[in-house]
């Protein structure tokens, strides 16, 4: 089979046109997911068993099932019910993008909350004791001690999750969204040339991932700028 370079040059701009959609999915779901994750985290460390328990069940369900299934349930499954179609949520659920963002947010929220919890648990107890000794309230300790330290600890794992989120956006193509993968599949369906198209697409994603890793690396160094030893 010949490797059609012309095809690659033709399809690259078409696929990159989907970059905007991919980024939109990534950033919106990422941001909303982070907010959801913080909410879940607070529920889990609240000490109140009913909040903790609800959060745990939620996390268990969303981490225990494949994201593709979650996407299908939200997009194809929910409209099965009249009640959903008549509700105010229909405005969001009607759009494939809305469903994708919802599914990605719910999913990443569960994962990130566990990552943040790992960060919180990783904060040295001694530092918190020092805070108490200085007369800080629980709220003050959380804001001034736990949050900065936990963020730094959780950052590497969080960057991994952001990359996972990027890869999950490719699944939005299964519900008609024209992100990069959706456009690629349409091109393959027209030209019957899976390699050239998919390999170029893979390279685009890899470059993206590399970019995200570098960005997080910079952020990590910035956060740790006072903790680094003089070299």
């Amino acid at each position: 089979m010949s490797f059609d370079l012309n095809l690659i040059l033709d399809s690259l701009p078409r696929m990159l046109a989907g970059l905007g959609v991919t980024l939109q999915l990534l950033l919106v779901s990422g941001l909303l997911g982070l907010i959801l994750a913080i909410l879940l985290l607070l529920m889990r460390i609240s000490g109140k068993f009913y909040l903790d328990w609800v959060a745990q069940v939620y996390i268990y369900i969303f981490r225990g099932t494949p994201i593709l299934v979650q996407i299908f349930i939200i997009y194809y499954g929910l409209p099965q019910f009249e009640a959903v179609r008549d509700s105010i949520f229909w405005h969001i659920l009607r759009e494939p993008t809305g469903c994708a963002i919802l599914a990605l947010t719910l999913n990443t929220g569960a994962y990130v909350s566990e990552i943040l919890r790992g960060g919180v648990l990783g904060v040295d107890k001694g530092l918190l004791e020092a805070g108490s000794a200085l007369g800080m309230s629980a709220r003050q300790k959380f804001i001034y001690i736990t949050t900065p330290l936990a963020t730094r600890i959780a950052l590497p794992a969080y960057s991994n999750d952001v990359i996972s989120l990027l890869k999950s956006t490719a699944l939005a193509s299964t519900i008609t969204i024209t992100d990069m993968t959706g456009i690629a599949r349409t091109i393959v369906a027209d030209t019957y040339a899976p390699y050239e198209v998919f390999i170029s697409l893979a390279i685009i994603y890899m470059i993206f991932t590399f970019g995200i890793q570098k960005l997080f690396g910079l952020f990590e160094r910035y956060l740790g700028r006072y903790a680094r030893r003089e070299e």
Binding site: T176, T186, A189, Y192, P194
Partner: protein, 268 residues
């Protein structure tokens, strides 16, 4: 060096197997498996439908064993070209565009398209002579399955239309029902049987004439195979003609529809 002799042994084994298989020929057949009533799976786990019956009939006549492989529609031709299977018996229309890359047997079924939409959409989408009126499609969302003749027709005739591309025809019907799309274009026989004549399809109707332009829908639906297999093609055509002339093909159709799905002239 050791690796090379292992590879040679493996090749040898495969070669011997193909020699043994010469008598009981096995051909792999690709189909969508989610396209009722033409090819789908029943609760018993068996494949059923018009395409499946045609496949079984052809297999018997040419004396081969058919293995069935399920494949998502938009990857059907790439998969055939990549040797995932040897034949496509999945209601694939014989179009010029497809004939550039693959070969087809003669047709075994009509190929037509028709638009389905809600009864509440009062707009006239077609004029008196059966041509679509592009302006009247404005503001309407259209659902189409990727890589289908319907998608090609729409792309050429109504490039300005707001189109959503789906992975399977089932999703088209689901989204038409729940209002995500206002119109879909699909096989009219299937639309009538599985949708419009049922409860779910009560609020929907055909929104235009049956379209059978050969440029987009070809002479009909045929068995797809890779190019350069003249002998196999001959055998398939012979088998299809036999099925037509013996009345078997019609009996397959009548299992599902009150009419036959092919032209008698194809049996010549």
């Amino acid at each position: 060096m050791r690796l090379r002799s292992i590879q040679l042994m493996a090749i040898g084994v495969v070669a011997m197997c193909s020699a043994f298989n010469a008598s009981a020929e096995t051909l792999r057949v690709g189909m969508e498996c989610t396209y009722a009533p033409f090819n789908y799976r029943t609760a018993d786990g068996e494949l059923a439908g018009y395409d499946v019956d045609v496949a079984k009939g052809v297999a018997k006549i040419i004396g081969a064993d058919f293995e069935y492989v399920c494949q998502e529609w938009d990857g059907m031709i790439p998969a055939l070209l990549a040797n995932k299977f040897d034949l496509i018996i999945a209601s694939m229309s014989i179009t010029e565009k497809r004939m550039e890359k693959i070969d087809f047997s003669g047709p075994y079924r009509f190929s037509t398209g028709q638009i389905v939409g809600s009864k509440k959409t009062k707009v006239n989408l077609f004029d008196g002579s059966g041509k679509p009126i592009p302006g009247n499609f404005k503001g309407l969302k259209v659902g189409l399955e990727r890589a289908t003749t319907y998608a090609s027709w729409f792309e050429e005739k109504l490039p300005e239309a707001d189109v959503l591309l789906y992975d399977s025809s089932e999703s088209l019907y689901l989204d038409l029902q729940n209002g995500r799309v206002d119109l879909i274009m699909t096989n009219p026989m299937k639309a009538y049987l599985k949708f419009l004549s049922k409860e779910d399809g009560a609020g929907f109707e055909f929104k235009g004439p049956v379209i059978d332009e050969e440029k987009y829908f070809g002479v009909g639906v045929g068995i797809g195979l890779r190019q350069g297999q003249a002998e196999l093609k001959q055998r398939l055509n012979g088998a299809l003609k036999q099925l037509i002339n013996s009345g078997d093909l019609e009996s397959y159709a009548r299992k599902i529809f009150p009419f036959k799905l092919h032209k008698d002239a194809w049996g010549q």
